[in-house]
């Protein structure tokens, strides 16, 4: 499952998607909207996607992760639109026979997602300020 959604993401749903008879281990990563960035007080975040390309890249990350690691299944869900503090912006779940593979594959998938998937985050501060963010710290 590779989806972009405007609704709350339920991590348990992704866990259910990757469950398999051979999977002894499931690793999940949940990206959560933080209240603080440095000294600034974030009110909420807004995510925008280049939907078609983002889905294509998410599927490719899924395929690459399955090629690189001996895992069973992978699912990725990314939220767009307004995301409040404490809510999940992204959830990745990976199942595998063994734990190290599940964990390492999940790590690889989130790293690659943050590099490749065309989705952008705008921070809305409590003081009314707003700013588009880049994952590469060079551009912030």
């Amino acid at each position: 499952m590779f989806e972009i959604t405007e609704k709350t993401i339920d991590p348990n749903e992704l866990v259910a998607k990757v469950d398999s008879a051979r999977a002894g281990a499931i690793s999940t990563f949940i990206g959560v909207t933080r209240n603080f960035t440095g000294d600034f007080h974030v009110d909420y975040l807004f995510y925008e996607a280049y939907h078609e390309m983002a889905i294509k890249m998410m599927k490719r990350i899924g395929e690459q992760t399955l090629e690189k690691f001996p895992i069973e299944k992978i699912a990725i869900s990314h939220r767009i639109g307004r995301v409040n503090i404490g809510e999940a912006s992204v959830v990745i779940a990976v199942s595998a026979s063994h734990r190290a593979e599940a964990i390492e594959a999940c790590h690889y998938a989130i790293d690659t997602l943050k590099e490749l998937v065309p989705i952008w985050k705008k921070e809305f501060m409590v003081d009314g300020d707003q700013k588009w963010i880049a994952n590469d710290p060079k551009w912030n």
Partner: protein
Amino acid sequence: MNVRVLLFAHLKEIAGESEISLELDAEATGATLLKKLTELYPAADAQKGYLRLSMDGEYLSEDGTIVPDSEIAVFPPVSGG
């Protein structure tokens, strides 16, 4: 050739549109397109190397040649996750 260009994030805000069309020479590259875009929207002219390009949903380097009738997008570094 006339190229359809999708804009995202702060570029979309600068242009006030999510899609524009640019007139480019045949065999134009990504760099030519970015130059044209930043002439049109000087506020988009962030530091060199800041803007990303895609063609038909694949990343395109500044050296890459724009193919007629392809879907081009221009956007800042991604910040998903």
